[in-house]
Symmetry: D2
Subunit: 366 residues, 4 copies
């Protein structure tokens, strides 16, 4: 596949299938001296982990991560960090149905076309199970960015099907099983999801991720712009069909006078840019939003073909998330952290020799 | 900057500023044997070139490209292809105003923060002038993909401010100065743009790019998924704030039964996936849409600060596109071509030794 | 460190320290369809493994490799292959001496300078223990190259201190503990090594690696020439101080009439080029030779400084190879295999569309 | 070819053929703020340039370099630096002979095999003419390393056929047309070369390059060790068949007590390591030596085949260097500079956050 690595200087490489013995990865390029334990990774792994509520898949995985290298006396040494998570709940089931037919909306057909061979057990490599490795790696980046630069990376579910939050409070995010920023509308989500589960259907969602405490200067024009790398990172998450930065698609109908973020000695007056100008961070919050499709693994029958090309139907009866967007929040945070970490290192490489940029204005109005 | 290259096997590296002596680039990794002349590149360069109508910037550049290497007797040799475009219309003007103050919505502030030095003449490296190199390189990829695999890459302006096409006809695209697929609404665009120009304002837009005749199997999971690379490519274009594939952001409100593209022996029944499943091309058309912000270079004054941090105002009086989305169509096509070309080469590397994938069904219903 | 990966399309990434819980790696880019078991890797791991004779370190490691992913029903799927080798014989010893002083000729001083922190247990990341991962990954490449292209990669110890073989027979290589191609001189090696061990000293060596059954056309000018990548690969092995291809350093005193390999319709008449012309394989055998320094871990005291900069002495009493060159043969084979595998994939990417090269002459005289 | 770039953070990409309109390249990743003019590059270009004495090829090229981008008011901006050198002396000659037959020892055969098409005019892309771009790019790195870190990179011809210098003086290097460090033996070289030219033959040579004023800590284990990258860089130069660091191949016969460089509070007592331990710079001088083969372009007839595979003879009558090693000195310096520059940036990326390494000892005895 040769596409299993992400990053240029802070490089994450992953491996593992849904129903193989283990998943894992290597984080290469972490600077030495960072205090780190498996617990630091486990916190985010637990946030992503299945079975945390009745609204996500009931597969039971402890997702306990083992750090195999790169630490000495509790600190990173600069050596690559090996990560291992054993799979535990590979339920023994009959995969004959999936083996012989392509689930619509899934990677079954394309994997077969590309590789001529396919590990159909739970989707094999195409399963979102691999995202646990991203979350573990992202937790290292998050910790480094927070401790060293004061960068805080957070995310939330910003839409679930037709439901949008009516208020916003960061403190609510971890108090409900949806990463939802509005306590008032949590019951609407509960009801919607319960109905959906009864129906046997699935629904799309949107996740928003935000990086606060940003330094200016991150991003390498032309092709490795910060926004381009963020788009790459977020679109690489399973089920994502769209990514926008700042005003995003709303900018289509904006005029220049409305979109441009004016500057004053006290800071920018708005943040339609989402914290990035010309591909380089402005110091304002990075704001990115991603659209996640409804999973295609549903109980309602769909037309498809079998591997011989004949018409058939398929029902997916396994344990699946009716809204994959719910568990996507920690994954999206992790990917944003990986991008920022990579660009922090790249910026250090380029800029160490110039006088630290003057910063005539604060990045945004307090 | 170290971010001036795009692609892994078909690698485009660019250089050049808006008001320097020349822009150019190197295309590395083009297979040998492709018939190629400067004219093949010029066609797309002319489509992107400024001054083609009253609705784009009046800067006059012939954008004549010189191929400096990589050809022998009219065919590519496998050696890197050197491209050179001399700048011609670097109007001598007083840049003192821009030099000392940051235009809101522009890269002025972030470049200064990052590099501590800034070529403010016409935006320097941050100018969209560099996209001419992308278009030239993309034209090579387009030609190769068309001749060798029958892949056709086209694009169009799919929204301009509040105006959307009411019909769709590929044949209309090149018959108006907007790359607009609907003859009926061209007068609406003319009127809108004339009003806008009088107002001194700018407007956002959306561009859609489509690849037809796609093979299956392009894309390298996990991180180099085809859609992730497309998102990277399109988001790297100046002024782009959002990218979506297939149903894109509309998938948020879709249910699984609606979104999943069912399969029959005659082909997929819909294309919400935009031609990509699990990061790999399904053989259906690739459909991607990008949102472009309104340029911040407008005649209406805006609040800003000067390089000492003091409050001031700025008016941009140069020659600028009131809707940068208009000229973005050939650029987006070029970027999509670069991604597909890269993945064609990557797929050849991986897959040459397996039996050509069986193709039990056509990719879509005729 | 960010230098833990090798290869562009067939990418090996490793992790692990000498005395950590495990070493391992990820092989990304292996084409689908290759029959593979852990046994295929174990053969070469056993050839490299310590404690096979009294002439190498007495550390006891089974070096049993576990394949964690990338296989389905005994064949590669195209997904990344996770490899894990648990460390077993991390002898509990007092590292206080090494912790506080720099062993001359070792990486102790430079790791401390670079990282400011150092896992001194057995050399940590700088230990040659990590080469087991290279051997495991190389075994995958070897198998693919052999099965798919008939390329055979072999190596031998071509000099040990002052001793050179007097004859040459590939069949002898695996019949003595030295990978030595000449039965007649094996007793000389035994005697030399026994004396050396008694003396408490160490000695340098040379290893030669050869790839037979080569296709023409591998190698990507200018910078990714096949010989440049081989030099990179071999020089990256611990203790290597020199690499030469074909005639190598002997070419300094050769005239053009002597060095150039003349061609006849029956093949090349000599192979001073070592199978590579202009950075591209000619179809002749690839022949590369590497020089390995004597290990600095010896029982004879040496002057050094401690971590405070004060003068002191050091004796290395651990279990070490008196001639690291002996176990280097399978490592060098593995690295050559990785380079060739990568270039096979790269050549497939570039060349699939040209008519297969005519081959007017065989690559060498039978 | 897709191998036309060198470096990871300081990336040089080149293009151009021997007899095309121009050669050139792009230097991406140069930090902003470096004072730079074309003259800074021209000095080294003139040292490499043909026709400087009767002992090198008589092709006349001014090798005047034009800097097309990346500078503003005399300083680098961080943007990519475009370089252009027009070819001037593409002598109109009949290439029919070379076109139809393969010169032994040349890349003619392998390029034909790989690409199926070949620009035979002067060797096309395989000509050493492209090394002018390396020298220009290397001059930028040299200047940066010298001004910012006090690193001095120099080289000399250390052997020409059987002739070795009898003394050593850096000051002599630029006082003879051979980059030879020993005035006493220059007449021997003159005589040897005159005889060789009369004979119509060519001869091999060795070049040594040295970096002084080195910081500690450069190099990224495992695969991007400093010595591995140097080996890669130097072996990528046309005609190079071997590379060694420090003691190099002499280490084969050294014992550990002899090879290891002991440390004292005043510095290392020797430099068999060539300034690199465990792949990381120790602060001592980097010393590397490369072996260059005799050119195969000679007037003495050699057996070969034509493109149909039939036996024939070939004489090369063009303008060629009888000892390509002579002009290789500035090229080798440039390549060493590119490696060090890349690793300086990589080290800055990794290490900016740890306390500057304590340096308890000077790197070598004064």
């Amino acid at each position: 596949m040769s596409g299993s690595s992400f990053g240029k200087l802070f490089v994450v490489t992953g491996f593992g299938e849904s129903h193989g013995p283990a998943i894992g990865g290597i984080v290469d390029g972490c600077p030495p001296g960072l205090a780190l334990t498996a617990d630091d990774l486990q916190r985010d792994l637990d946030r992503r982990k299945p079975g945390q509520s009745r609204h996500t898949t009931q597969r039971r995985e402890s997702d306990a991560v083992e750090i195999l290298s790169g630490l000495f006396e509790g600190r990173t040494t600069g050596a690559p960090i090996g990560l291992l998570i054993r799979n535990e709940d590979q339920r023994s089931k009959d995969y004959a149905e999936i083996a012989s037919r392509y689930r619509p909306g899934h990677a079954d057909y394309t994997y077969d076309q590309k590789y001529g061979v396919r590990d159909y057990r739970g989707g094999g490599r195409s399963s979102a199970r691999e995202t646990a490795v991203r979350v573990a790696a992202g937790a290292i980046a998050k910790k480094y960015l927070a401790e060293r630069y004061g960068i805080l990376i957070r995310g939330y579910l910003s839409q679930l099907g037709p439901i949008r939050p009516r208020g916003f409070n960061w403190d609510q995010i971890e108090r409900n099983p949806f990463f939802w920023p509005c306590a008032e509308t949590v019951p609407d989500l509960e009801t919607y999801m319960d109905d959906l589960r009864r129906e046997g259907n699935s629904i799309g969602a949107a996740v928003t991720v935000v990086a606060s405490g940003m330094p200016t200067g991150l991003g390498e024009p032309i092709f490795d712009r910060l926004d381009a790398d963020i788009a790459h990172a977020l679109m690489s998450i399973n089920a994502v069909k769209g990514v926008e930065i700042g005003a995003g698609f709303a900018c289509i109908e904006q005029k220049g006078t409305e979109h441009r973020d004016e500057l004053t000695p006290d800071g920018f007056l708005s943040n339609h840019a989402g914290g990035i100008l010309g591909g380089i961070s402005s110091g304002q919050d990075i704001v990115a939003r991603l659209a996640l499709k409804p999973t295609s693994s549903i109980r309602l029958p769909g037309r498809t073909i079998d591997t011989s090309g004949a018409a058939t139907e398929v029902i997916t009866t396994g344990r699946h998330d009716p809204c994959v967007g719910i568990r996507a929040t920690p994954i999206a945070e992790a990917m944003l952290a990986l991008v920022l970490m990579d660009h922090v290192l790249r910026q250090r490489a380029q800029n160490a020799d110039v006088v630290p940029p003057t910063r005539p204005i604060p990045p945004s109005v307090a």
